[in-house]
Assembly symmetry: D2
Homo-oligomer: 336 residues x 4
């Protein structure tokens, strides 16, 4: 039985806790949060767990084997490092940390102590993304042309967190998981509205080499909720619409043919993109977090490398860091 | 009665011709096309018009008052200039010409001779865009936050025409018409696939000052057809979905409020974007081209300045020229 | 503090329990279920409640003030009657009972003892249905023309429960709540598939007088999930699409005008139905069950008549009973 | 070359004429309409055809081989009969005639004279319906469970034509073409609004034997335009949404399995309907009317039986006649 301690019981914490309580082999031992009303909520919901205001009673406690960190991003690094230094396996909410350097430090610490360091890129564990990853890995897409992502809607957000750091990690973790490659360079533009000091809308592009372009539109100020990713290849195209409850993934047969046209002796070549049948695979509807926590358990007990390990977290943060530099330099291209 | 001559009876020409035949006060006198089978088609459809292979019998003929040019973009400048120099009013398919310089030359020629020079930015004459323009002009949007446009689907295209020059003029003409301001700078990135030498997918951003950001995604290689524009303001947001036959325009009440949260004495400010009611106005379903040609007739007979005059055409070409430079310079920002 | 006992912890019970635990003024004292694994689940989730296999320890216990019954429909009558006879207020899952007679018996018993008898017509408490009811009550619809409901999708169901008894109560309770009138007659046709002895698809029509027709399509065997109600009036039409997360309710301005046409002296009158603007009101997103249980609490403590009282439950069952007779008589009209 | 005469140039006539002009082997010789402005329109559009007010100059003329009738339904019988009696092949707009008896008379006349009698059930010639018919004919559906059709929206209509006779022929012709069987009995209910003397909304059910139920909802008074047909079988289900421009036909793998549940020794059988993958086939986008007129030409020249022959027209009228009787008898079942 792996004894788990959680730090942070805000927006995402209750979901983590609920799943910790349900996965066999994990025991939720302790939950820490600075906020009293959140502690009260944890007390009611986390049957059998101690609730405390003191994070060190999680990171430093001898009766804890693994620590899950679901606090605001600013504290991820410090808490994760403390937990690792005290010999705990660690699961961190995305983003793994605030800088490439912090991520590298955590990876190094975990490696040195032979501990599991996993980042909570939840989307990677959804049935939809797993299906798409297998599909792409099987070469069904042909040559990859582009990756296009939109994630937008109105909502509540902190004034000093950029929409890029808040929303883009989801899509970047999907990109990394599905295409398995890192960009050569990054550009980003954004805008700040309603008194915000950081962008609440941003467009980021990645150059993935071989004419493969990735684009991310993240937006906190959209009347329409959109969560859609398109991945186009020379032979097939995949659309992942997370808001379509019945047909989340659609695969389009497609291809290119050249047509010729003669006008008064002048020859013109036309490119014809076409689509054939579309198929939408039946997917399971497992809660991704459940799948993820079972994977965390297996990694901890079997000493395995997680699918979303420190390196995955680092890859995402490296792109975000570059995007931030591009934003500051007015959209100039930043090479990695 | 204004005697009209048309040059080009390819993709768009038949639509123009059909409307020329229907608008009172206009008489379709002559149609020129280099291609024989197209001339046969024109012969059948254009009751009462002469059909010819010779463009000069349109641009130079004494029995023609106004010339409509619907040829490939490469020949717009030369044909329009010839028509103006022969004292004809001119209507040109978008884009007006291939460069800022060419556009300026046409504007100058038309001004000198006191002729109407109009560019066929058809979308500007749709009931939807006219409604949105009036709505924005009435100040209903509040402060403008962003303009976001997606135009994509699979199709047939020429190998040497960029998707930007082909599709973006539609959206840029809408931007210009609705917001009435020109950008300070432009960035663009794109990618070429399937042996194309020019981008078949591109992302362009415009800095419209005062934190107003415009973004355009044009794509010839998408399995999903999308034609959607969002315009967000501090008080309302407008979504224009050209593929939604029943609810093309939706207006969302929206706004921003600040919320406060206290965690263990730490104070945090949260921004809450919210939406209220949504309204979709009843729009007419007039054919835009009909409205446009009636406007052309009125401008010619009343010697009026068209809504989409040479300056509108120039504004669009200026942005496209800058975007092309940005593409060539790997996405670097280009100032206008 | 009202002490609540629950019977049945299957499909719907956990939702009830979760809300009982959250509504101030209600205390979940005891939960009964025959099934052991369900009792285990209740034990984990219902902090502070006793869990038992014995329903009489709920219906007959002196430390229980109100009983909620969420068992299969077959046992509703017996359990509800026992609870009432022991002086408990009662909340029963829909349908209230299996026959008009049973409903009348429960209403009589509750009246005699001055107890609250409420039926769990959850949809009536949604923000959407409440909005529509107020809208119709304000006379905004004009004269009511029809009510049309579709509720369908694939799923799991018991072999001996008809789709009419299972799904139609939702829509009938909405009809009753919104239009507030009872039908004069009923017709129903259905079909049994895949070895089922009772219909798994059915169409029911109600004659609501004054040319107002209601139609219900309930279907367990549809690949497409649909939950849509249209209510048409002479001045406006309302569409309630429960699966549309952002625009659940849409109101269309509409109306009728007469047009005249003359063909060679023959005069023809044409009817023109038209729509004007569409509006989708902003709705809250309160959980309906929470609203409902607060109402139950207020009825119990204030001795008020519930919005979905025994009479509402009876109205629904009366229609279902007639529909069943029509089904048995091959679709013949049954008068109420 | 088959010389065609047309009678009626109102709503549908121009579409017929345009296609007659394009199909090789057909020559549009003459067009008759009582209305002067319609004759003017025909004159402009029907290059090479004579235009007249006199229908007998079509039905009785020696220079006409085939007659197309696109007049209001009331005159179909008389005009078609006259044409047949004068030795012309005949194509009639739906419905073929106003009664079973009239249809039989036309079939008899055509048979006696060995002439082609074809009814313009256009939908049968769409790529979508042809695909579905082949799919069903190949046995891919399994046992047919039901056919469900909705056709609705606001519009313009004549005061004395029932929505059943106007809209239902489309769906009945699809039913007949795809399933190839005739119903045993019919029920129909409807309602009249806004001063109409005939129903402007109706529900019709057909008993197709073997537990196969067909339902048709036709509605002239709906704010939402719907044109959707579902055909469910034991192995697959097909949804045909005519308003979905990109995915008109969707096929769902589906099936039934039995699950068992034990509650305290009581055994319960549950039916589980499930869906697997969904596929949407790529369809051509040929104009159905073009396909139909080529078929008409081939039938006339090759003396073949049309896919939508007099018997098809009769099958549809027989159902409509029964539905009308059911409407008059308050929804009572009418046997065929």
């Amino acid at each position: 039985m792996i004894r788990v301690g959680m730090i942070g019981y805000g927006y995402w914490g209750p979901n983590l806790a609920r799943n910790f309580l349900q996965v066999p082999g994990l025991h939720l031992q302790r939950v820490a949060d600075l906020n009293e009303s959140r502690r009260d909520a944890a007390q009611l919901a986390c049957f059998g767990a101690e609730v405390t205001a003191d994070a060190t009673s999680v990171t430093h406690a001898p009766d804890i084997d693994a620590v899950a960190i679901a606090t605001p991003a600013a504290s991820h690094f410090e808490l994760a490092l403390a937990a690792l230094q005290n010999g705990k396996h660690v699961l961190v909410e995305k983003p793994l940390a605030h800088s490439v350097r912090q991520c590298e430090r955590l990876i190094e610490e975990a490696a040195k102590r032979n501990l599991v360091l996993m980042v909570d890129h939840t989307f990677v564990y959804t049935d939809a993304v797993r299906w798409i990853r297998d599909f792409v890995a099987a070469g069904r897409l042909g040559q990859t042309y582009y990756f296009d992502s939109i994630r937008s809607n109105l909502g509540l957000f902190q004034r000093d967190v950029s929409v890029l750091w808040d929303l883009a990690p989801h899509d970047l973790s999907i990109l990394t998981s599905v295409l398995g490659r890192e960009p050569r360079s990054v550009t980003a533009v954004g805008a700040c509205h309603a008194g915000s000091r950081v962008p609440n809308i941003a467009h980021m592009t990645l150059d993935l080499e071989n004419d493969c372009l990735a684009h991310f539109h993240v937006n906190w100020l959209s009347p329409v909720k959109v969560r859609r990713i398109m991945i186009a290849g020379s032979e097939r195209m995949v659309v992942f619409d997370d808001l379509d409850s019945s047909e989340k993934v659609k695969v389009y047969d497609s291809g290119v043919s050249i047509q010729h046209e003669d006008i008064s002796g002048q020859h013109r070549m036309l490119v014809q993109y076409r689509t054939g049948d579309m198929t939408s695979p039946a997917l399971g509807n497992r809660e991704a977090l459940r799948t993820e926590l079972e994977h965390f358990r297996d990694c901890v007990s079997g000493n395995l490398k997680p699918m979303t390990d420190g390196e995955s977290g680092l890859a995402v943060v490296r792109i975000l860091e570059a995007a931030e530099q591009s934003l500051e330099r007015d959209g100039a291209r930043v090479y990695l």
